[in-house]
């Protein structure tokens, strides 16, 4: 593999890995803050145990999100120095603001929350977890402002020096792309948090051995409501993003749908075996008119295909290949994301129905289903990013800079190989440890209610 391939692989590996941890941080922090609010408001110790139980799992996950986040920031300069020079004027700003406006709050007040259980007043301590939750989600906004510039460049001009320069900060932070992407990601995070809580609660409800079953009953009910609403809203924002894509990134839409030839009305592909070399479908199952309908809310309307877009881009940008590599990956990522979302919605809806009839615990099959459903948001989150980033190729900034022009000229394949292997090994080992610890603490029945109560003021000491 050459330098470009290695740098791309490294970015893919580190980003996907980072995003295993981030969504849970986003969503679970809000849920814990909510539980602790109930505790402070009602004075009911039950909610305190809940906040602490889920808080422990939150912390095991949080650490991994933080340490892998540093790699993300450094990587732009290390592997993509030409990209950094070209868009640093625009792209650096949201990253700096993220650190200054959000990340400081998040990490400082997380320390306060962990170590402050018996040092601070209840309300001040509650404020600290809300600040963590707020800052984590704000942090996501700034990162997505940066990413949105790559998807849909706005608020810039090309300078004489040949680089892009910011001309309108307000346009940058209100990029129509980020206004849909941020809620999509934040709600996806909430979905992740909810299905995480639901899965582990369902596990304990099935086993029925934990000394604090009531905690899991309440947790499951909260998770069902939060998760179902969140996943529904996530799909809504996702749908809106798809419609926007028809205007701003039609090639990504065409790749996601496996639409090789423009069509009006366009049919939705359910299953396709594509021939990427010849740029045509080998075999497929479609539903007539549905793609037009999903795109324009009417049964007809032209949806552009890969081959026509390729021809158009050659006119516009000069000769070259403008078709994303590995269409199959984009195509199936999209289906996996939507499929996982739909499955979560169905599970959530059934759960709510049974919970309101107070028969949830009798429907063991649903609880059994809810345990592995814990992985569904992870599938959706990962494939969602694959779709977003793979579909943008060969552009690193849509229509402005191609990926091969972005890579560091002085970084050698050997250096990349060393770091790629290094990151992969250490990430792999830490993943094993992390999942093991999550599993251990999620199952932990460590004794009576009293143990759980005194366990977590100790959280600070167990750090």
């Amino acid at each position: 593999m050459d330098v470009l391939d290695l740098a791309r692989l490294q970015f893919g590996v580190t980003t996907v890995y980072h995003f295993f941890f981030v969504p849970l941080t986003l969503g679970l922090s809000i849920m814990i803050a909510g539980m602790q609010t109930m505790y402070v408001w009602k004075g009911n110790e039950h909610y305190k145990h809940m906040a602490k139980f889920w808080g422990k799992l939150f912390l095991i996950n949080f650490a991994m999100g933080v340490v892998t986040g540093i790699v993300q920031e450094f990587q732009f300069g290390m592997n993509w120095s030409e990209y950094s020079r070209f868009v640093g004027d625009i792209f650096g700003a949201p990253l700096a603001i993220e650190a200054l406006a959000a990340f400081f709050i998040e990490s400082v007040f997380l320390g306060v929350w962990i170590f402050g259980w018996d040092k601070l007043g209840k309300r001040v301590h509650l404020a600290s977890i809300w600040l963590v939750a707020f800052a984590a989600n704000l942090s996501a906004y700034w990162i997505l402002v940066a990413n949105s510039f790559m998807q849909n460049p706005v608020g810039y001009q090309m300078a004489e020096s040949g680089r892009a320069e910011m001309t309108d900060f307000f346009a940058l932070i209100t990029n129509p792309n980020v206004l849909l992407q941020w809620p999509h990601v934040v709600l996806g995070g909430l979905t992740t948090g909810a299905f995480f809580v639901l899965g582990i609660s369902a596990y304990h409800l099935l086993r029925g051995r934990h000394p604090q079953m009531e905690m899991f009953r309440t947790s499951a009910r909260i998770a069902l409501i939060v998760g179902t609403v969140a996943v529904f809203a996530t799909m809504g924002f996702g749908h809106a993003q798809g419609q926007r894509m028809a205007d701003t990134q039609p090639m990504k839409l065409a790749a996601a749908e496996g639409l090789w030839e423009s069509a009006d009305p366009a049919s939705l592909s359910l299953f396709q075996i594509g021939n990427e070399a010849e740029r045509r479908p080998e075999a497929e199952v479609t539903i007539p008119s549905l793609l037009s309908f999903l795109t324009y809310n009417t049964p007809d309307g032209l949806v552009q295909g890969i081959n026509q877009l390729q021809a158009q881009y050659e006119q516009q940008y000069g000769p070259g290949n403008y078709v994303p590599p590995a269409i199959w990956l984009t195509y199936w990522s999209f289906r996996a994301m939507v499929g996982a979302g739909a499955a979560m919605f169905v599970i959530g809806l059934l759960g709510i129905v049974f919970a309101t009839r107070r028969t949830l615990e009798k429907r063991r099959w649903l609880l059994i289903l809810a345990v592995p459903a814990l992985f569904l948001p992870y599938i959706a989150n990962t494939t969602g990013w694959l779709l977003t980033e793979m579909g943008r190729q060969p552009w690193i900034v849509q229509g402005m800079m191609r990926i091969e022009d972005a890579v560091s000229p002085n970084v050698t394949a050997d250096m990349l190989l060393i770091s790629l292997i290094g990151f992969t090994v250490i990430y792999g080992l830490l993943m094993i440890v992390d999942v093991y610890l999550l599993w251990k603490y999620a199952r932990a029945e460590s004794g009576s209610s009293e143990a759980t109560a005194s366990d977590l003021p100790e959280l600070g000491r167990v750090y």
Partner: protein, 335 residues
């Protein structure tokens, strides 16, 4: 003052904050296996920085982000040029963060010992490598006309740079020992005092020597700020050594703090208006002007930074106030 200069100063402030705060953090991590002998002792050592290390590390992230936003060419040249050194720092920081979080989650001595060494390596490696990086920047590295670093990793490991590495390593360790002295009690406090007493004089000598050999043109470029910083560094180090002898450790900690901040200010004022001098010729130097973002970006970022930095300082100072008490081996720390 133009915006480029203002941002150069802001980045100096961020790196000063990083060296001052993460400096004792690294020092405590380096001392962990030596000062803490029993599990409870190690727990106290870790807890002395437990509530703050994560916030301290954000100073680095912010400095990196600010560099990217204000001087993208500096960021691109430095990060791609020092690739393997930064990779090692990243691995160390990953290990360190994971170790803090994971070490006490399983009640097994072998498990904890393993992560304790993770904390040690994760602290020692960056403590060394930041000095190597700083010394290389001060001496100048091979940067060509396209602002690209064209040297190799081996070039970065020259004797001058390694002297810089040893200097930051010792300085951080001393700083950490003094922090531990202030945060702990009993046997830990005694051991921290012992480390401080042993390290004070050697650290002062090595740091002065490293500054002189890493930046041979130091006295050619002398200006008012540099003179003040130089005096600050010498007074800070000398003061620290003096107060350690007389057993006034709070003042000694103030001394190492002043020394660390002065050292960063000295470096940056020595560089100014360059950000990365080139060893291939002055015409290839990266300066705050040829490396900077546009006036518009700098203007926007200035408004944001001047609003947020005081706020960050305020709440971070508050957390140090909340967790100001010494940690003792009283029953509260049992687990």
């Amino acid at each position: 003052m133009d915006l480029q200069t203002l941002w150069f100063i802001l980045i100096t402030v961020l790196f000063s904050g990083f060296f001052l705060l993460e400096g004792f953090d690294y020092g405590v991590g380096i001392l962990l296996p030596f000062v803490g002998r029993k599990d409870t002792e190690r727990r106290i050592v870790i807890n002395s920085i437990g509530p703050v290390w994560d916030g301290n590390e954000v100073w680095l992230l912010t400095a990196g982000g600010a560099m990217f936003a204000a001087f993208p060419n500096w960021y691109a040249t430095l990060f791609s040029g020092f690739y393997l050194a930064l990779f090692l720092i990243l691995v160390a920081l990953i290990l360190r963060g994971a170790a803090f979080e994971f070490r006490s989650k399983i009640n097994s001595p072998a498990w904890r010992r393993m992560w304790d060494y993770g904390i040690f390596i994760g602290s020692a490696l960056p403590a060394l490598l930041w000095g190597v990086a700083v010394a290389n920047i001060a001496r100048g590295v091979a940067i060509d006309g396209s602002m690209t670093f064209v040297g190799s990793f081996g070039d970065l490991l020259n004797p001058f740079a390694l002297a810089g590495g040893v200097a930051t390593f010792l300085l951080f360790t001393l700083h950490g020992a003094l922090f531990l002295e202030l945060k702990t009690d009993g046997v830990l406090r005694k051991r921290a005092e012992g480390v401080a007493k042993t390290l004070a004089i050697p650290t002062a000598v090595v740091v002065v020597a490293a500054v002189l050999i890493a930046a041979p043109q130091l006295f050619e470029r002398l200006n008012v700020v540099m003179v003040v910083a130089l005096l600050g560094a010498v007074a800070g180090l000398g003061g620290a050594a003096w107060f350690i002898r007389s057993g006034r450790f709070g003042r000694a900690f103030l001394g190492t703090s002043i020394a660390l901040v002065s050292a960063v200010v000295l470096l940056f004022s020595f560089l100014f208006p360059r950000v990365m001098p080139s060893s291939l010729g002055e015409q290839f130097d990266l300066t705050i002007y040829n490396a900077s973002s546009s006036e518009y970006t700098l203007g926007v970022m200035t408004v944001i930074a001047l609003t947020l930095v005081p706020l960050v300082l305020a709440y971070q100072a508050w957390t140090y106030y909340v967790f100001r008490k010494r940690l003792t081996t009283s029953s509260k720390l049992e687990y």
